[in-house]
């Protein structure tokens, strides 16, 4: 009950902020070229869906984001499992990974353009490269940090290496992997937008940049609202999956 009251309080604050935004726009404290009134942004959003191809742009961005993320997650977790579960591999590979990690993924966009041209494959390559790091590093850590006694159990039961990974290490590393995947999805949304801006691929990145070039601030805000919505839904749904998949953990630790 109390939580609900706070929720309503939060909603009221949001309403006040939108009203304030409308007031600032109406009084033209900020030039309407930069800041459209909320009503104008809202209209632009529906007009975009009804008369322009905003829906296609929305799905384009989602497709790029999910496509690259799936590639990154698959290779990230697989590679992370290989590297993380072997001490020798960690010693050889981990330092290189640490060097590559702070490299801005967007820096490889020109390289990817030179290799693949301005194609959707380029976007998948860049997004895959950029969002592989959270998944990879988290699963290296997850597989490396398996409780030693569980590994002893694995040995005592005479499990093969693959059985050990599937039955002992993977469940134990799941919390790390899931939080890595969530971070990776955030990164892939950012990179999807950047790729669309540069390569002119169908998506919201292209939409907002074209709107900026035409000084259509309402269209920009419509695109930004949708991008925020994608980020919100993506994050919330992965959190939900995390909470469900890790229910056993909550029970144990209380």
């Amino acid at each position: 009950m109390k939580a609900l009251a706070w929720r309503f309080g939060g909603l009221a604050v949001v309403a006040v902020m939108i009203a304030l935004w409308g007031e600032i726009a109406a009084l033209k404290l900020v030039s309407p070229v930069f800041l459209p009134a909320p009503a104008r942004a809202w209209t632009a959003l529906w007009q975009g869906f009804a008369h322009a191809d905003l829906a296609a742009k929305l799905f384009g961005t989602i497709r790029h984001m999910i496509g690259g993320w799936l590639v990154a997650s698959f290779f990230g977790v697989a590679l992370g499992a290989l590297v993380g579960s072997s001490k020798a591999a960690r010693e050889y590979v981990a330092p290189t990974l640490e060097f590559l990690r702070p490299l801005p993924a967007s820096a490889v966009i020109p390289v990817a353009i030179a290799m693949f041209g301005l194609t959707p494959q380029m976007a998948v390559g860049v997004i895959g490269f950029g969002s592989i790091w959270p998944a990879l590093l988290a699963s290296v850590h997850g597989f490396a940090a398996v409780e030693p006694r569980l590994l002893e159990v694995e040995r005592a039961l005479g499990l093969s290496r693959w059985q050990g990974i599937a039955k002992i290490s993977l469940p134990s590393a799941t919390p790390d992997i899931l939080s890595g995947l969530r971070l990776g999805l955030t990164v892939s949304l950012i990179l999807a937008v950047v790729c669309e801006m540069i390569a002119g691929l169908d998506g919201l990145g292209q939409w907002v940049l074209l709107a900026a070039r035409a000084y259509k601030s309402a269209d920009i805000f419509a695109g930004v609202i949708l991008l925020g919505a994608i980020g919100f839904v993506a994050n919330a749904s992965l959190r939900l999956i995390e909470a469900r998949a890790l229910r056993w953990r909550g029970r144990r630790t209380g």
Binding site: Y92, P110, T186, L209, A212, V224, A229
Partner: protein, 251 residues
Amino acid sequence: MKALKALALPAALVVLAEIGARAAAPSDSVAPPSEVAAAFVQALADGSLVTATRDTLMSAFAGLAIGASLGLMTGILLGSLNVLDRLMELPLELLRPIPSVAVIPIALVALGFGYRLEIVIVAFACFWPLLILSRAAVDGVEPRLIEVSRALRLTPLQRTVKIVAPAVLPRVFVAFRLAAGISLIVAVTVEIAVNPQGLGYEVMTAGQALRPDLMLAYVLWIGIVGFAFNAGLVFAQRRLFGQAARVEAAR
């Protein structure tokens, strides 16, 4: 022995790249490491590398300073005032998922190309980690310390400066390190996407000029700058906070 093992993979990759690129030559997208090294030396000699690095770092640092201090102040405010914190929860939840690059077009229309565009976007990106982690840090201050401040009859400002700030400093620095890494990434991203200056732009032009050697040299240099930046901050963290920082980071 450990260092040798660490260097084995990069060395093998360089040799493979040299052989592979020479086999593929002439190419518009790959260049052998020897030519990349030559292009790097040339860019260093004619000063373009230095100028670009300065532009990128200046924007990144300015954005980091602005975004981090705003985030820190907001975080401390929300962490100390419970009512405000609960009320702002929903608005922040709605604003936070907006990807930093989505702000580019808005800032572009309002500010045009240049340093300001880049600084605003870096600041937006650096604002969030500081806000969230410092809010959590203030929230997690040992309640007995707050009781002490009450017993000493400190004013809220005194309490913030004398009790809360030193208590949260190690965790805030962890957040700052995170934001510093983000600042460089975002600065380069903005340059690659729209802003015609700095390291990101140099990579872009080298690629468009079909100079894979120069392009790869810049990419490698961006990696080195990022790595050195991060290493410097880790070192500072160890020196400043010692054991406390390690414990806090693990939490």
